[in-house]
Subunit: 596 residues, 2 copies
């Protein structure tokens, strides 16, 4: 069925319900960043495969909003359809709610599956369309009526993350969360974010693409903890352990009933950014709502000592695999046929040799030449190209290990480079090194530091249209909050101080459409440093261990401080990785990390 | 009368009214940063002369809260009294409202003059003390009953700032403000900030220390504009011009009545951060309140083309005076007796030779040696010291010219320096130069850029306990918002994008208690630069023109980029100032600005 047919069928369903517009977001019922196949209705209806975007189907037109990371990809993927691309945040492009406010008629009806949107989304919609008598229809998933071969809801087995890896038992974690509830005088806490539930219970699963979480909701009170989950995914052993920790279970769908059962006068803590609209609608009138970030978010972001120790191990393994891959690529390209997809398989093969490797932490981006300029490019059979011994290959990949989650980008010179490629590679590297070397006072947010990475580019009138860094979970989602490196300080922005134990990516880039893309990414661990009269200083411990390809560096553009940072890092990379390498690999790494 | 007697008399008045505590803030009725002598009740009652601080007088104890700029000064000035210093923001130090929440008893009564505090202040007080049955008594100024020789309310003549300087007529400004009111559907706008009223009406006065504003309130509706002002300060001519622009006048005190007269159903725009509590209390019940930053604040911050052009002229004049002063100081010290106060007079004398000079824009800080470590040091007869041909002299001064307001800090080597002095001088200079050279995208806030100035210090475990920069008015307050360079991103923080036309100071520093202080300050004007695919780039045009004392620079600590920035700036300083100098001065300046 072509996209147009799918939209046509959706429009028939819309017409039966007298809907002027139907919104299909990317989200699952948990506002997860990546979603299981069951939830990919937006992709099914639009053909756009990116990880962010919202489809709006009107009676005649259809539109897809997505952000800067996906402009190129969406343009290509929508080219076959009549869906118009709306570039979010670009001058003159209205937001979805603004578009609706302008084009809806008085009394129009707008539909969406209430489980796939947040309260914030609906509030924004209501605010913008307040002048017109718009009504919302949110109780039905129309995509389900169109999507005949929809995959079943995932129900993969849940497994336990031992306390030695987590650093805290689930009982200790439940206690800590209840302390936070107590402090806020909340009687109940509704958890809907899958990574928060997995973290809290020291459990992992496999229901979401490349994310070891499982479909679940949780309602926590002072004395009770109810996990709503597809019961078949829990083994008897895990069920037992949960029971011991005071966690009972109910079927996945019964969360709505559970919420309906809250008592008048109780105060319920919900995270309005995460909880889906339908669940909010289920809260009885007399129940007080406290809308604030879930207490689990920050706890999960601040890694335990055990998590930190294991993360370092994960990054050594990952570094060995990535270095091997770099060597392979640089020495084999041009001599044998290597395509983007093939290279990704090679790298995954190296990772699979590592103890405790569980799989990729996201779809690998191996992007050669001009593909590198498509920020979240993922090679398909159709787009796959053979690499030649020239130009740049951008490799942004990561793995889940029992020891934690990695995410690394190296941009690799496969042969001759243009002067522009070398200059741009080096400018991005300057910013990466500068941010990585940052020392700062406790209380500083990622928004304060982002410009350290951008300064060398801004100075030259250049920029990259994405954040400089995101938080990374421990064997959870490769993107997590609340910490980040970004510069925009909006009203809704998460500006949180960087705390010891937070893991963040440092990944500035530069993208020259039609030519090449450059990104340098290490994960850093925020640490406490010197404390003196001025306060508590913090620094960033680099977790990622793999060389930056020196063949692409224009050394004259580095100042002596930057050279020292690079050489210091490379020295550490060699010392850390070489014990796990063959003699030939060691020789290669020694050259690859020799001082510039 | 000694401080203790004054407090005793205040406590008698408190006892008569059964007050457990009485709060004396620094503010006048307009929440001005600097205040006229009439309003210096906190200074009268505590002996502390700093520009920020709040006195709390309890039945037995008394406390003074002030911020990091004033810790040393307050410590010295409070030493004679029983008033305890509360260092705001330091670990373990409760905020005033927290202190009250802890120490007040149920049913206690707390007094303050409602005209000297803001709504935000009272709300915070109420929130924190909500558990106890605290009442507030705000209708009386108890200090007035104690302060027998209180100066009269200032009533200096108002004068007109010609349109050639302002760039917009008062009619145009009133139109623009009414457009903003229209957009917010506000029927009335209450203006209480003195610099906003002066800006809006293209008038200036002399009622506040070193700030050319006059005591006034304004109430603006779609059709009317009423200025509440001491009528004698307006000439017939100005009164006429105001009338022509649709501005009528009423006596200063009648603002309360005017506000009382607002009609039910009207929507009044007030700036809750500025308007005093008593005026808010005067708003009738049925009047809708919209609490948002006054529209004048941002308009005033974004300088007109005429203002920018005049500012450049003011800074040339100021630069000639300051350079002359630097030459004088460096060549005369040790040969004749020069004290801090004497030096300030010399500098003011040089400024007075300049056309259009109206007077200092704040109390000059000429701080020699260890005095430099007292961030807002102002020499008194008691503290004044003679300078020797060694060490550093920190000179932070500024002037009001018809062409605008200046604010400049130079740290001047008077002879031999220690290695620490040179290193620290250079580290601060690196940060100053780096921030000054920043190029950034439109939308970036001062909070994003602050760390550029701090990075060289943070790297070495150093910091300064003040913001890196503040906005500067055009022949108005030397400190204005909303723009700034700071790193703290709080809930109440003003994070506003830097816009073309905003003037901000760039003034990192370093203070070594008992030894020396260093600060390098230029004013910069935010400008639009290159526009390309990445967006609109912005840069900072340096307005201030005077050399940085190269004798204090440890050149080996500068990288080549920093040397280029310094040499480029110095070249411009020479080219700009030398035409206004004598031959001897030119020779000196040439050496002072020669490339390093």
């Amino acid at each position: 069925m072509k996209i147009e047919e799918r939209l046509q069928k959706l429009r028939e369903q819309m017409a039966e319900r007298n809907l002027a517009a139907y919104i299909v977001p990317t989200e699952d019922f948990h506002n997860s960043e990546y979603v299981g196949d069951y939830f990919k209705a937006r992709e099914y209806l639009s053909g756009f495969t990116g990880s962010a975007g919202t489809l709006l189907v009107c009676r005649k037109e259809a539109f897809l909003w997505t952000d800067g990371r996906y402009f190129l990809q969406a343009q290509q993927q929508l080219a076959q359809s009549t869906i118009e691309l709306m570039k979010s945040g670009q001058p003159g492009v209205p937001a979805l709610e603004e578009y609706l406010a302008e084009h809806l008629k008085d009394g129009d009806r707008v539909g969406f599956d209430g489980r796939t949107v947040t309260k914030a989304f609906v509030v924004k919609l209501q605010d913008k369309t307040a002048d017109k008598q718009i009504t919302f229809y949110s109780r039905e998933d129309l995509a389900d009526l169109v999507w005949t071969d929809r995959p079943a809801l995932s129900a993969e087995p849940v497994w336990e993350l031992e306390e030695a890896f987590a650093g805290l038992s689930r009982e200790e974690k439940l206690d800590k969360v209840r302390e936070k509830m107590q402090a806020q005088k909340a009687d109940a806490l509704l958890l809907t974010a899958l990574d928060e539930i997995a973290w809290l219970l020291n459990l992992r699963g496999n229901d979401v693409h490349h994310t070891p979480v499982f479909l679940a909701y949780m309602l926590l009170t002072k004395t009770e903890a109810v996990l709503c989950v597809q019961e078949k995914i829990l083994s008897a052993e895990i069920r037992d352990k949960l029971k011991k920790a005071g966690v009972s279970t109910l079927p996945y769908e019964q969360i709505e009933e559970l919420v309906c059962g809250l008592q008048t006068g109780q105060k319920l803590w919900v995270d309005g950014r995460r909880v889906n609209y339908r669940l909010l609608q289920a809260i009885p009138e007399g129940v007080g709502q406290m809308d604030a970030p879930s207490p689990v978010e920050r706890m999960k972001a601040v890694k335990t000592a055990a998590e930190m120790e294991h993360l370092r191990k994960a990054h050594v393994k990952d570094g060995v695999a990535v270095s091997r891959f770099m060597r392979y690529l640089k020495t084999h390209v041009g001599k044998e046929r290597i395509t983007e997809l093939g290279a990704a398989q090679v790298l995954d093969g190296f990772r699979q040799q590592m103890e405790g490797y569980l799989g990729p932490s996201f779809d690998p981006i191996i992007a050669y030449g001009a593909h590198g300029a498509i920020v979240h490019y993922a090679a398909t059979k159709e787009s796959d190209v053979e690499m030649k011994p020239e130009g740049l290959c951008l490799a942004d990949t990561g793995g889940h290990y029992k020891d934690g989650t990695t995410d690394i980008t190296r941009t690799i010179a496969l042969g001759e480079l243009s002067a522009q490629e070398k200059r741009d590679y080096t400018l991005v590297l300057k910013g990466h090194l500068r941010l990585g070397a940052a020392k700062f006072l406790e209380g500083v947010c990622g928004q304060n530091l982002d410009c350290l990475a951008r300064e060398p580019l801004w100075e030259n009138g250049l920029d990259y249209n994405h954040g400089t860094g995101h938080g990374v979970g421990f064997l959870l989602s490769v993107h997590e909050g609340p910490q980040n490196f970004r510069w925009r300080i909006g009203k809704d922005a998460d500006c949180v101080p960087l705390e010891e134990g937070m893991v963040i990516s440092n990944e500035p880039g530069l993208y020259v459409t039609g030519k090449f893309g450059i990104r340098h990414e290490n994960l850093v661990l925020c640490r406490k440093g010197e404390q003196n009269d001025f306060g508590q200083f913090m620094y960033l411990e680099t977790l990622t261990m793999a060389p930056f390809d020196k063949d692409a560096i224009e050394v004259t553009l580095l100042n002596s401080q930057e050279r020292d940072w690079l050489n210091g890092y490379h020295k550490k990379v060699y010392e850390t990785l070489s014990p796990y390498m063959t003699k030939e690999e060691q020789e290669w790494l020694q050259k690859a990390t020799a001082a510039v």
